[in-house]
Symmetry: C2
Subunit: 682 residues, 2 copies
Amino acid sequence: MADLDPLVIFTPSGKRGRVARGTAVLTAARQLGVDLDSVCGGRGICSKCQVSPGVGEFPKHGVHVSATALSDFNEVEARYDRIRGLAKGRRLGCQARIEEDVVIDVPPESQVHKQVVRKRAEARDITMDPAVRLFYVEVEEPDMHQPTGDLERLQQALSAHWSLPDCQIDLPLLTRLQPLLRKGDWKVTCAVHQTAADAPAQIIAIWPGFMEAPLYGLAVDLGSTTIAAHMCDLKTGEVVASSGVMNPQIRFGEDLMSRVSYSMMNAGGADEMTQAVRTGMAALFAEIAAEAGTDTDHIVDVVIVCNPVMHHLLLGIDPFELGQAPFALATSDAMALRADELQLGLNAGARVYLLPCIAGHVGADAAAVTLSEAPDKSEDLVLVVDVGTNAEIQLGNTEKVLACSSPTGPAFEGAQISSGQRAAPGAIERVEIDPTTKIARFRVIGSDLWSDEPGFEQAIATTGITGICGSGIIEAVAEMRMAGLLDQSGLIGSAEQTGSDHIFADGRTNSYLLWDASAQGGARIAVTNGDIRAIQMAKAALYSGARLLMDKFGVDKVDRVVLAGAFGAHISPKHAMVLGMIPDAPLDKVTSAGNAAGTGARIALLNRAARAEIEATVRRIEKIETAVEPRFQEHFVNASAIPNSAEPFPILKSVVSLPQVDFNTGGSGGAGGGGRRRRRRG
Amino acid sequence: MADLDPLVIFTPSGKRGRVARGTAVLTAARQLGVDLDSVCGGRGICSKCQVSPGVGEFPKHGVHVSATALSDFNEVEARYDRIRGLAKGRRLGCQARIEEDVVIDVPPESQVHKQVVRKRAEARDITMDPAVRLFYVEVEEPDMHQPTGDLERLQQALSAHWSLPDCQIDLPLLTRLQPLLRKGDWKVTCAVHQTAADAPAQIIAIWPGFMEAPLYGLAVDLGSTTIAAHMCDLKTGEVVASSGVMNPQIRFGEDLMSRVSYSMMNAGGADEMTQAVRTGMAALFAEIAAEAGTDTDHIVDVVIVCNPVMHHLLLGIDPFELGQAPFALATSDAMALRADELQLGLNAGARVYLLPCIAGHVGADAAAVTLSEAPDKSEDLVLVVDVGTNAEIQLGNTEKVLACSSPTGPAFEGAQISSGQRAAPGAIERVEIDPTTKIARFRVIGSDLWSDEPGFEQAIATTGITGICGSGIIEAVAEMRMAGLLDQSGLIGSAEQTGSDHIFADGRTNSYLLWDASAQGGARIAVTNGDIRAIQMAKAALYSGARLLMDKFGVDKVDRVVLAGAFGAHISPKHAMVLGMIPDAPLDKVTSAGNAAGTGARIALLNRAARAEIEATVRRIEKIETAVEPRFQEHFVNASAIPNSAEPFPILKSVVSLPQVDFNTGGSGGAGGGGRRRRRRG
């Protein structure tokens, strides 16, 4: 054994092999294919290659490790420890040399491809592998006898030390190259963008000397209403700051179609909206960088997800064609751009990646949901619903994935509701109606107390009660149905019919009073039959889209339902099923994915391979256009009712028992349609 | 034979083969690899595939061609003939079908890779193969059931019909794609940029429908003093317009080093110069397009050649480093850019290609000269000299090529000469001095008459005689030497010594009067001993550079000399040799290449393969830096004298016999140095 080269075993990978005595740990790791980070290439500068050598018996590995297995702490390590501090037991992998058999642990922070753990049990972790990485190089000085350019010598260094062949550079960075190299005394840290190990590499930023500070990327969910951005450390994957702003395009129209109309009716309107959203994003990014204590110069990569209209408006493409059949996208593939093409105010070399669009109504945001929720990798049949002004619905498993978009309209976002408002402090978000007393209690955003609990009034003193938001109106309608205040056609019974003095006659229909502080100058919040109608339309659209996909898939039930989107996170699955928003599924199989689009953006930001993956997945998704599917109309007509227990919802029946009431007296045109349609179906 | 498929023979290629009866000529050409153009892909729209079928006996090919060998003139051809006219005997290759054995001639204008003939016998012709070509496609209309983007369907069409896989597109063009496709009713003509058949393809411009007009490219010679551009038809290779302007940077400094100084001494000076040259180029390009009767939107490709300082200033790189050893270029490789990165005011998608730089003092202009004069392909040893403020000198043959730059200074351009001026109307450009009478006669730019010929005074009435230009001063000095007015050290003899009453004492030295119209208020033009000194320095630099390369090559003579550059075209080889500007060579082996840099630009513009070729060639050229070569200094010291017949110039002796005179009386310090140096050498 004495003559054998020393054995090195790396944990946690378990990779092992014999290396020449005196080999540096970093070199050994590279030889054995162990994931050990290094930015400086082994010069003892970056400390990214820290390892924890073990000492003693390792019966599992069959080795004894002596205290002299690695070379002594050397001068470079001592200096590093003195200046920056090296945790006890840690060594710099580029300095410590292997003298005898040894077991070496690579801690997560020293792994290039570390795992970013996602909190939800069903979600896959993210493997760190960003498109932009830092490389420290020492560049040969110019020589009159070898008159290559500075760039060519930099390229040579990147190729020789980092196997990055033929790195290209943007012109604006090239113009700054010579002073940067000289300021760094021919040592520079380069940010290199490369979407795959064999893809072309691009030098996008250069700092003189060794640049300590982390690089950041942004995962951006560009919605019609809000723009949300998460700033991630491209080394650790950690979200270091998050922020959101209202989409400044709102002044051109609340919903997407009104923005499309604005561009149709105003020359230069699309450009105006493009400028507005770009300016808004740049401001948001500057703010988020400040919040994280850095500047936008350290933001080098951005992944944006958005619906097709926002996608086009962001790119400067008039969304005209998206406003009319056949809803042709200018481009559906993923886009790779420079951030300065979109004037986003980041590092001049920063890159932007837009996920592919699935169809004219199913955008990059839906693709991001696909990436996050991976229906294509699900063994059981999963329905993924992202609810917004349009609902993007996906149904699939490993066999295939279908997708469609359904025009739910803005009712779920509190618009078109008499007392509706956006989900903001003061909005009623949860509702319970006592089936006996028919009296409602509720919760308001900004407080955890129910309205009948002590201290509620004080808790809401600053916000007041200002209206009802999407999740609140859904619960209110479902609770009204369960309390017998509403029949299956969606008609509110009268005070007499229901025996509730919270019902009041309201024109030709009835309304239900949730809250009345008008005597004190506050709000009076009621659910009108018009509100019920709006919610019925929205939920019918959603349900019909899901049913259409089920038809196309050839199934009449799904194994599980994932509610995506900020709104999805707030919907109560029980109420959604009572309302008939989503097909029935066991209650514990209805989960919320939170902002899955944003998560998908983060995945694509942190793992470059996920980009190619989602591009391939999107190509395989079967797109269903609801607008041309006769069955969608058919489902829609049938879905406007609110289920009763006679309906074929066996699972729902186990959840609640719905009263069999019918308030349609024949005289009320407002709600009659639903009733007639129900009859036609029967 | 009757059952065999018909035989088709294409001329001039001689390619032949049997094709299925009824095959279109264009299809047959493609099957047999015959170079037959088509932009519309065989739809009878573009008429680029015109052919001339033969009829009768073709003993050479062993076939008889009957009048019915091709299908009858069809409706498409008839309509084309009616509307646009089809020359007699011509057929549209995409319409005419092969029924029987046939011989088909492809006229040059129907060949994609036609030859552009260069006038000089020793120069290779240019094979047309531009980087930008037009492709007409019909794009599938959008379909709700197949929701790909418009771009993806365009890409699909380019791939299916033209084997152009995965064409990319610039964002600004993408924003215009949807209306363009609809305006063209899903038929568009695309300009596609591709640097090689297997290189990535980029859609850079789109026109609705079939776009008739030609595309143009610019071959630009960006000099320190002037910017010259040739606009070429990218189909025929023809130069359709040429124009030049003064380089607007002149206001920052006449020569390059004064511009480098300007940037060093003025904050933002480099940017100011960058803006100036870009604005100047954009104005020139607009003018040249107007002159050609088109607009800049049809200019889609530009090749620029220039010296390293202009190269950097054009790109927006501060030329600081080029002003001091080790003269480091920011980048030496060829550059491919979008024209709008340089704000050149062309088609938004136009591309720019800059040839590689050879070294810090040997720029892309020298590389263009290499491409045009191809010393690397020469069997005999050729010295290529491009004379300007710096002389770029190349020496080589198929074995190897050496290159250097020599600081000749501006004397050859008429600067630093007492009566010097640029080569412009009114400048003396040719000089002859009668060896007996010592009286000069001369010619002036703007007239073909010599000053002693009848009608000369009228001929120059409008321009006058304003000064002496570079070629004029070279001839004057050489003629003065041959007439015995000048000794070998460069000293002008006195009136007494020379017996010429055109010599007059001028301070401590003498001057020679060429022309005196001062009595009439005109110019008085003399050659002073200071002028001689300036020319001696310049020619010594040039000669020393050539000698240095010869030393490095291990030769003491060259087989031929090529004088490149506008100036080179005006130098009389005999006078250049008398002066000792260039090493001796047989007079008939000294030729002018005209603006070889501009020609090199044109080659790279018209033939994309030439780009890769010159990039590879430049990498192989051995660069010699004169500044650090002791032998250059040595040669320089020895080369300031003007040869006499005792010098080892055997070939020169056959040209002229130089008088052995020495006017150095010991009292004239001005010329003594040269004399002393000569003695030191001996």
